[in-house]
């Protein structure tokens, strides 16, 4: 009676896809998964948190403000930068050995490297050694693009505002000040040093900068930043590289040197130290602070107690929530057996 199949050209295909019967995993938030899940996550977090917290607590940090904004600071004489080559010295003592390798940072606060107009005020092509951009720097660099029609190299606000305080560290032993060797090699990212920043392929380097002028705030030309090491000049100067990697937040610190050499490879031993600061960088205008930091690191990087505490708190919360859920579950008896 049923005359089928003879004319069913319009019959849709019978595939799992067209019939919406694709096999699928259909998870569901049941008590059996959620509550143990919370307990597990909670315990794992507490574990990680304890580890992080302990690790972070072991990291030693010595931080000193040398802004000189208040009169008591040894650097208060330099605060207003009345003297062009102001030098001040900070003395401090270390009670116990700061285990090596020790890193020496300078820090700035209230400093908006993350300001958009500041951030874009640079010329990556120029910094990559493209000499065509020496003659005509990127317009984003304005107003540090030209000085009376002579192009600025490196152009832009970022380069112009390069941090130029320098430090010398001495250990006071028996009334003598012994210099602590500071290592400035390899403090920038490998990719910045090797790829992103490159000097123009011109020897001697100075020739590449003919017809250009240095940034107005700078006292040295970019090709003579490091007088002690000829290879540490131009755009691949390590201090320059560190500065050019702009900070994400208004309070930041940047690596200045590493203390790894000689007697200090095991760290900074206890004792009295003095830090000689060549105070050049103005911060009084915007109420910023300058500081130096001596710190070692762990597998998780620098000291940061936040992560450890956060893990502990979240972990505990998870456990608490799992208990709450268990109570709710027991009380209302979810509709499993419905």
């Amino acid at each position: 009676m049923v005359k089928e199949e003879e004319d069913s050209s319009n019959r849709p295909d019978n595939t799992a896809f067209t019939q919406q019967r694709l096999p699928a995993w259909q998870p569901i938030l049941s008590a059996g998964i959620v509550i143990p899940g919370f307990v597990l996550i909670g315990l794992a977090f507490i574990g990680i948190g304890v580890g992080l917290f302990l690790t972070s607590r072991d990291i030693q940090v010595l931080e000193m403000d040398y802004t000189g904004a208040d009169g008591s600071s040894p650097c208060s004489v330099c605060y207003n930068l009345a003297d062009k080559n102001c030098v001040c010295t900070m003395s401090f003592s270390i009670d116990s050995l700061i285990k090596g390798p020790v890193f020496f940072y300078y820090g700035l606060t209230n400093y908006f490297q993350n300001q958009r107009r500041y951030g874009v005020s640079r010329d990556d092509k120029q910094l990559y050694g493209d000499t065509s951009n020496f003659a005509s720097p990127n317009s984003e660099c304005a107003p540090y693009q030209y000085i009376s029609n002579v192009p600025i190299v490196p152009c832009g606000s970022v380069a112009n505002s390069m941090f130029n305080d320098t430090f010398e560290l001495f250990k006071n032993v028996n009334g003598q000040s012994l210099p602590v060797p500071l290592d400035g090699k390899g403090i920038a990212w490998w990719t910045d040093y090797n790829v992103k920043f490159q000097n123009p392929n011109v020897t001697p380097l100075i020739n590449a900068f003919n017809g250009t002028v240095r940034p107005p705030f700078w006292s040295k030309n970019v090709y003579e930043l490091d007088t002690t090491d000829a290879s540490n000049n131009g755009f691949i100067n390590q201090d320059f590289l560190v500065w050019m990697r702009r900070a994400a937040l208004p309070d930041f610190r940047k690596l200045y040197r590493r203390i790894t050499d000689g007697d200090y490879s095991a760290g900074l031993p206890a004792g009295n130290y003095s830090l000689k600061i060549h105070y050049n960088y103005p911060v009084n205008g915007f109420g910023g602070k300058k500081k130096v930091v001596f710190s070692n690191v762990s597998w998780m990087g620098g000291k940061n107690e936040f992560l450890g505490i956060a893990y502990l708190v979240i972990g505990s919360l998870c456990v608490v929530m799992s208990v709450v859920m268990l109570i709710v579950y027991a009380k209302f008896k979810f509709p499993e057996d419905n």
């Binding site: 009676m1 049923v2 004319d7 069913s8 019959r11 849709p12 019978n14 067209t18 019967r21 096999p23 699928a24 995993w25 259909q26 938030l29 008590a31 959620v34 919370f38 992080l52 390798p101 890193f103 820090g107 490297q113 958009r116 500041y118 951030g119 005020s121 990556d124 092509k125 493209d130 304005a142 505002s161 920038a188 990719t191 560190v242 990697r245 900070a247 994400a248 937040l249 930041f252 610190r253 690596l255 590493r258 205008g285 915007f286 109420g287 690191v297 998780m300 990087g301 620098g302 000291k303 992560l307 956060a310 893990y311 998870c318 929530m321 709710v328 979810f334 509709p335 499993e336 419905n338």
Partner: protein, 1123 residues
């Protein structure tokens, strides 16, 4: 074979039908696209971005998505257009056999003699018979001579484009002559050329102007409620965007004054701009950055999702009807989610709920009930003893045949009555006896009599030939006492071959009972019992009775009858009196019960839909009795609805009174009938009407005109704020289909009119439950999930910028890498959410049917509403706080494990964007309840792609290739190898997810989600499919106190069959008030309700505006093939 006719109407006047040509496409299309508000908005953004002072983002972040969107839309427009590109008005095109006509053509010449062509118009009106078209002789001479055709220089003046498929007027000026053009010379787009070698035609209308397209034309552009909500929300979001930017601009102003002015040592202000100006620029910069709250991809994604879900409807084999080889079709691809929100269904009756097939099912003869329902095991009665039997007739009660064979006189009288008392015409074709019955009921009755050995063979105006148990008999037909809706009965007076005079009467039980002889009272009781039983099953009953007449009395009566029928004054009244006089002292023979065959699965579908809390109103042009019967048989009305309230006032005052009365004495299990709507729809009463109707359990409106159907729909739409659906199959449903939020056309029943104007079409009413409960529900669920998630992911993305603003001097510095901003919506999060919106299902279709209650949240707008949106925004706010401040705290003042930088901007950007991507991906995982392999691939693939793309973008090679575009070189390598970075990612991911999981877990019980949850839980627990839904047998009712009388018959046929007019005659156009039905009826075509036939050869009686056009139809009783 297309030849341009440049001189047609003058070249400049030619109508262009394709919107574009090759050269104008790009500019014109772009211009059109930019007229859309959204696209224009993005163009403005782009303009803002090229202003250096404002530009906070590189131009490519907007250009790449914009180009993508424009390309996709342009491609769609181009494919739409390309189909029309080649055909232009004035072209002459050649068609060959079996080709589809692509434009409305004036037939010029053909290969056939007399310039005839044969066409099939099934696509246009559903009729499958071939039709003939003939070219003008003058153009026919052109033949297939290309040269001549190319030189053909004529001018056509014709009516403007319209949707009348059955009419065309115009003139052809050729040479010095003018030739009239009519429909007979026109080939319409949608026809197929048959049995014709070739023909040439001149294009009159093409593209959108063709009659077919004009018929498809939506009178209004339908939008879904989600669409409307989305538009409101987008406006709100836009307001919110401006608000955020204002805050940030003010922030910038304060910062510039307090800090920026001091910071000028390192960051001088250009031209010493003031803080105010800087704030002004910042405002625009932030507009650019934060514009991702209204992402351009939203609209594109929504369209893609709807398209995908529409395809599922087209592809669904469970909505494919094999008997007519018709798959379901989503003709509109923009309304899917609305299918999951239907609250009111307005259904047509005939052809939609019913098949318009009547089946002689049971009968009661002389106090004995015959007839059994087909149950699958019983053998059908073998009618082979009767060579004239209709093989399609099926009956299951053998005792009736036995009774016939035993020559039981009452049984014989019963069937003799059925064979004589009717207005059916018989026709013998190829040795087969065919009946042309005016109503399907009569067809069923006469066919029943035929099979039981009382074969109606032929009639003349004054005789009826029947074969009684194999013996040819001729009865003299003396009078037909015609049927009308007041009399509710018809009688014939015949003289038998033996010379006995007899009156046979069939009619409504109540009416016939009043006219019975007292001697019948005992049998009356038994028959009443049977009638109640039949009525209880929803069968249409008629009582049969006869009376032997006295010769003298009849001659005298006949004389008076003749006088009355020629009287000019009150003819009808006088005739009625005469009929009344002779139809008395009848002897009851029995009763018939006819099943108005419902479409398969209708009662079950209606039950399912009402379990889903959908209200179903039946709007029919049919009579109240018929509608009521159907109401009972399809479970719309139940016996327990004891109070059937009928509003049938004949004036506004009456109706008002009735409505008042009803509102006063409301009782919850009531069903309502509205009879003749016109008064209730008056403006002053529409609210009363609506209130009354909405109080009722079920509503049936009878005798409604197509226009009133639309008015009822509009009324509900206007006052109820609900989503409505109208379903119908005929031309008279078009208006309501267009008026409702969603129109559904039943295809393959009555031509294509309803389907052409519908949004969805399929072949069977029962597919409606799948369309709503499965496809609709899923579409709604998916769309809501999509919107909730989409807003979540973009808000979260954007709000992080807002928080960062407070730490970067409100300088419009982005948090993320610009490439990430560009690709976030396009690549990293596009596919997973699309995957979810195309594949997700909370429970599968079988469970959806098991629990129609799952449909309710959609009606209540629970899944995506302002509240849900607000929750979404709060959730995003929380997530963005986590995503900004956790990395902030984790990176602040710290360094890498080798002492060098990790708190630099680029590392921070990378960390935040990675955290964000993880957080939104996990959130998607929580939203998704149906992980197919595709979904898993999309989610994991997107994450993998993110890392692949990121490492590529940050690679040396890319930097060397374009140093200024890829400044993030090395960032990925330098930060993603840090344990603290990964610990931060883990922390943010968990922190973003935990509250959601907790909230869901704790609120499962209270929310409506809980129902879904319970079902889902049950499914997952059981891991089995539910038992196949029991084939619900129709709910048996033993008895009913109401009358089961229904007879879809019209007055006038008595005159016809006794007159000498021959049946074949051209159709007369329908009474006014009826929309064009789009059907050319040349000669009598006995199909379709609305074929339009006026038996008396004059327009229909205007005093009684019959909505159903009276028509002659050929109905056969067809046995239902076993399913």
């Amino acid at each position: 074979a297309s030849h341009k006719k440049p001189d047609f109407r003058g070249a400049t006047n030619a109508i262009k039908t394709s919107k574009y040509n090759f050269f104008t496409f790009l500019p014109l299309n772009l211009f059109e696209q930019f007229q859309r508000i959204a696209n224009a908005y993005f163009l403005v953004l782009l303009v803002l971005q090229v202003i250096p002072q404002i530009s906070s983002l590189s131009w490519f972040t907007t250009v790449v998505p914009l180009i993508l969107v424009l390309t996709v839309t342009a491609a769609k427009d181009a494919t739409d257009d390309i189909r029309w590109m080649d055909v232009q008005v004035g072209d002459i095109i050649k068609l060959e056999n079996n080709q589809f006509v692509t434009a409305d053509l004036l037939l010029l010449s053909s290969s056939e003699p007399l310039n005839l062509v044969y066409i099939e118009t099934a696509e246009l009106d559903g009729e499958t018979n071939l039709k003939v078209r003939q070219a003008l002789p003058v153009t026919g001479e052109l033949g297939d001579d290309i040269e001549n055709l190319a030189n053909f220089n004529g001018e056509v003046r014709c009516e403007p484009p319209n949707n009348r498929l059955d009419r065309f007027t115009g003139t052809l000026s050729y040479g010095a002559q003018k030739y009239p053009l009519d429909n007979e010379k026109i080939l319409l787009r949608g026809c197929t050329l048959r049995n014709t070698g070739w023909c040439f035609g001149l294009v009159l209308f093409a593209g959108q102007e063709t009659k077919l397209m004009q018929n498809c034309g939506k009178s209004t552009f339908k939008r879904t409620s989600v669409d409307r909500l989305m538009n409101v929300l987008v406006l709100c979001i836009f307001g919110f965007l401006v608000f955020m930017c204002t805050i940030l601009a003010v922030g910038n102003y304060i910062w510039e004054i307090n800090k920026g002015s001091n910071f000028t040592v390192f960051l001088p202000r250009e031209n010493d701009n003031s803080a105010g100006f800087s704030a002004f620029l910042t405002f625009w910069s932030y507009i650019i950055i934060l514009n991702t709250v209204v992402p351009i991809s939203l609209y594109v994604s929504v369209e893609i999702i709807r398209l995908g879900n529409s395809f599922y409807i087209d592809w669904d084999r469970k909505m494919y009807y094999s008997r007519s080889d018709t798959p379901a079709e989503a003709r509109t691809t923009t309304l899917n989610e609305e299918l999951g929100q239907i609250k009111y269904i307005f259904s047509d009756k005939t052809g939609t709920l019913t098949q318009n097939i009547m089946i002689f099912n049971k009968c009661s003869i002389n106090g004995k009930s015959y007839g059994l329902k087909y149950t699958g095991q019983k053998d059908a009665v073998d009618f082979s003893f009767n060579p004239l039997a209709d093989p399609r007739f099926v009956f299951y009660d053998h005792s009736l045949v036995e009774a016939v064979k035993l020559e039981n006189p009452e049984v014989h009288a019963f069937f003799r009555l059925l064979a004589l008392c009717h207005t059916v015409m018989a026709e013998e074709k190829k040795g087969e006896l065919l009946y042309q019955a005016q109503s399907p009921d009569e067809g069923a009755l006469v066919t029943a009599a035929r099979n039981f050995g009382f074969v109606f063979r032929s009639r003349t105006p004054d005789s009826i030939s029947i074969v009684e148990m194999g013996k040819q008999q001729s009865y003299q037909l003396l009078a037909i006492l015609d049927f009308n809706n007041v009399r509710k009965r018809m009688s014939v007076i015949v003289r038998s071959p033996e010379g006995k005079l007899c009156l046979y009467c069939k009619g409504a039980d109540t009416i016939v009972y009043e006219r019975l002889h007292q001697s019948c009272s005992k049998m009356m009781d038994v028959t009443t019992e049977h009638l109640n039983e039949f009525a209880g099953e929803g069968l249409r009953t008629l009582a049969l009775a006869y009376r032997e007449l006295d010769e003298d009395y009849f001659i005298q009566w006949k004389q008076r009858h003749h006088e009355a029928s020629i009287s000019l004054e009150d003819k009808d009244g006088k005739l009625d009196e005469l009929y009344e006089e002779i139809e008395k002292d009848l002897l009851l023979l029995g009763a018939t019960a006819i099943e108005d065959k419902l479409q398969d699965g209708v009662p079950h579908t209606i039950e399912q839909l009402s379990r889903a809390d959908i209200k179903i109103w039946v709007l029919t042009g049919d009579k109240q009795e018929t509608a009521e019967n159907i109401g009972y048989s399809c479970n719309l009305l139940r016996e327990e609805m004891n109070e059937v309230f009928i509003i049938s006032g004949n004036s506004s005052e009456d109706v008002r009174e009735e409505l008042r009365m009803f509102l006063g004495q409301f009782c919850p299990t009531t069903s309502c009938f509205f009879h003749r709507q016109a008064f209730a729809l008056e403006r002053s009463m529409e609210l009363d009407f609506l209130r009354t109707a909405c109080l009722c359990k079920s509503v049936i409106c009878c005798r409604v005109t197509p226009l009133q159907k639309a008015q009822v729909v509009e009324l509900v739409k206007k006052y109820k704020q609900v989503v409505t659906l109208a379903i119908g199959d005929g031309a008279n449903d078009v208006s309501m289909i267009k008026a409702a939020h969603i129109g559904v056309g039943i295809s393959g029943q009555e031509g294509m009119q309803a389907v052409l104007s519908s949004d969805y079409s399929f072949a069977q009413f029962r597919f409606l439950q799948r369309l709503l409960l499965v496809h609709g529900r899923w579409s709604y669920l998916r769309m809501c999930k999509f919107l909730r998630y989409f807003f979540y992911k973009n808000f979260t993305f954007t709000f992080v910028h807002f928080w960062f603003a407070f730490f970067c001097g409100f300088s419009a510095q982005t948090v993320y890498d610009e490439w990430f901003i560009t690709l976030y919506n396009l690549m990293y999060t596009a596919l997973p959410v699309l995957g979810m919106s195309l594949f997700d299902q909370d429970v599968n279709d079988v469970w959806s049917f098991q629990h129609p209650e799952l449909y309710v949240p959609g009606q209540r707008n629970l899944y995506f509403s302002r509240k849900a949106f607000f929750k979404c925004a709060i959730h995003s706010c929380y997530s963005s706080l986590v995503l900004f401040f956790i990395p902030y705290a984790a990176l602040s003042d710290t360094v890498r494990d080798d002492g060098s930088d990790v708190a630099d901007y680029q590392s921070f950007a990378l960390l935040t964007q990675t955290c964000l991507l993880f957080a939104v991906s996990i959130q998607l995982g929580l939203e998704m309840s149906y992980w197919t392999a595709v979904n898993t691939f999309f989610v994991l693939g997107s994450l993998v792609m993110y890392f692949a793309v990121t490492f590529t973008m940050y690679s040396n090679g890319m930097f060397l290739f374009l140093p200024s575009a890829f400044p993030f070189i090395g960032t990925a390598r330098n930060s993603l190898n840090q344990p603290s970075v990964w610990l931060t990612i883990l922390l943010t991911s968990i922190l973003c997810v935990l509250p959601v999981v907790t909230y869901r877990f704790l609120t499962l019980k209270s929310l409506f989600f809980s129902l879904n949850f319970q079902v889902m839980f049950k499914v997952r627990q059981a891991k089995v499919t539910p038992p196949p839904p029991p084939r619900r047998a129709r709910i048996r009712r033993t008895s009913s106190r109401r009358s089961g009388y229904a007879f879809s018959h019209a007055q006038g046929y008595g005159d016809l069959v006794t007159s000498n007019r021959f049946l074949r005659r051209p159709a007369v156009s329908l009474a006014s008030g009826f929309p064009p039905v789009g059907r050319t009826t040349t000669g009598f075509s006995p199909m379709g309700r609305s074929a339009g036939y006026s038996p008396t050869g004059r327009p229909q009686n205007s005093k009684v505006p019959d909505v159903e056009g009276t028509s002659l139809q050929m109905f056969r009783t067809i046995a239902d093939p076993p399913l």
